[in-house]
Amino acid sequence: MVSAVTWKRISLVMMLLGAAGAGAILLFGEAVLGTTDGVPWGSLIATYLFFAAASVGLTLMASLWYVFGIEAFKPVTKRALYLAILSVLMGFGAIGLELGRPLNMFWLIFSPNLSSAIWWMGTLYAVYLGFRILCVYCIYKQDEGKVLTFSRITVVAGLLAVSNLGSVFGNAQARPFWQGGAMPFYFIIVALLTGTAILVVTFAMLEKSKPAVAGNGEALPPLLGRLLLYFVVAFGFFKFWYLSNSIYGLNPGTFEGAKILLSGPLSVQFWALEVGLTIVIPLFLLARPEKYTNGRILWAALASLIGVFFAHQNFVLAGQLAPLQVIPGDMLLYHQYQTMPAEWAIVVGGIGALIYFSLWVEHKFFRSSTAA
């Protein structure tokens, strides 16, 4: 196992890379992004979706103890809390870089447009983050009553925020592939999947170095593994029905989006990375609980985490690569989208920052104290 110091060094390098990417984007704008008029949303949006959904997923996992009182999850709840905060901040970072004129954001307050899903997304995530931080503060102050109240509020806000994220796509007029009422639920599934996988990975990474915090942690990995299995199955179910309905429903736009994934320009990324890493490998590793080992569960979680990132990317791009059919007629050439180095740098930097600050938090707050 790699030592904490090595991880810190690696994560620092990753953060430097991210900072370079951010600098390039701030300096050169769209020129260093893969986005075009045909594909206005690219990998930065996928990155944002990844972190924003992960945050709510982590919050939901934490709520298993704080709200629902399931003792088994107690050992990782604090970690889930700070990771939720870090993760949503990474998400805000990614979307902040994606925004062309972020300094105008104060108009969200002074000139709100209540019919805009992005306005609600911003508002709900801000409320969610606010209560999340408040919650952590109360835990720190050991104000148990308030912890419960704020935890409840945070869970509701988080669920609203992440489902609204689905709605940002679900109500996009021009993009049939994204449209529909299923999207909010899909985002909740993805959130849970991502949150669980992150907890598995961080547990494996951090727990060994701090036996003091372990508590009854021995029983946790199989439990998380089983949860992960359920979420992977739910994810696979959703994808299967969504895409098969899209293909056989033959609705304009929806059909093209599915075709782009199944046999079009994104097919490799879809079958190998999304289906392979998010569904097939975790299923293979987790299908039989009696065979669970910590290693198996860890690999399943890692695979699904990487896969989910590409699932977000596939989802964002598949809705846009087919040119809009404004005038009926023959299918035109697909739009091109290529994730540029600066965009990759943000992904790497975001993950690096997550690792670095996790280590910092664990070291600073958890090493000496006992479980709450």
Binding site: G29, L99, G100, R101, S116
Partner: protein, 180 residues
């Protein structure tokens, strides 16, 4: 109160691109940013084939998706029907680009605002014609005030059988196309 609209006879268009560049000059846009475009289609097979070109630009919808999704109300609609963008409120989220079913938005890389056809708002109120209308040798576009029954567009709309682009989306565009 004037209500502006445009009538496009796509059947007259031969795809020369004058409308695009006349507009770029009018608004002093860089070469790669165009507020209007042509959609080319081949119908049929050789030698019985038709080549159709259709000019497309912001439709100045009465129910504009781009306006509904704009988080800060930077996109707004004037009482004369023209949909415009308030640059100082735009946060550059590009949701409007994603939401417009006509692909009418184009990102201005300098200002980072998703721009689009303005129906030459500053000029038409002074009685001028948008240059995409006036420069066209084939007189593809007619622009005017549909509240004024004596305007050319009112008279043509009364006589011609017209259609709109993607009416099923419920956007209620203010650009009409002549049916052929």
């Amino acid at each position: 109160m004037a209500k502006y609209a445009m009538l496009v006879d796509a059947g007259r268009c031969t795809g020369c691109g004058a409308c695009r560049i006349a507009c770029q000059m009018q608004w002093q846009l860089p070469p790669e940013i165009a507020y209007n475009r042509l959609e080319h289609r081949e119908k049929g097979t050789y030698p019985k084939v038709k080549w159709e070109t259709t000019p497309v630009q912001c439709q100045h919808c009465d129910n504009p998706p781009c306006l509904h999704v704009c988080p800060t109300g930077a996109t707004y609609k004037r009482s004369d029907g023209i949909v415009l963008i308030d640059h100082k409120k735009c946060i550059g989220c590009k949701y409007c680009m994603v939401a417009c079913p006509y692909g009418a938005r184009t990102l201005d890389h300098e200002k980072m605002v998703p721009e689009k056809c303005r129906f030459c708002a500053d000029y038409v109120v002074k009685g001028q014609q948008p240059p995409c209308v006036s420069t066209c040798m084939n007189e593809v576009r007619v622009f005017g005030d549909v509240e004024d029954p004596s305007s050319k567009i009112s008279q043509l709309l009364a006589g011609e059988s017209v259609y709109q682009l993607l009416p099923e989306r419920g956007t209620q565009p203010r650009i009409y196309y002549v049916k052929r």
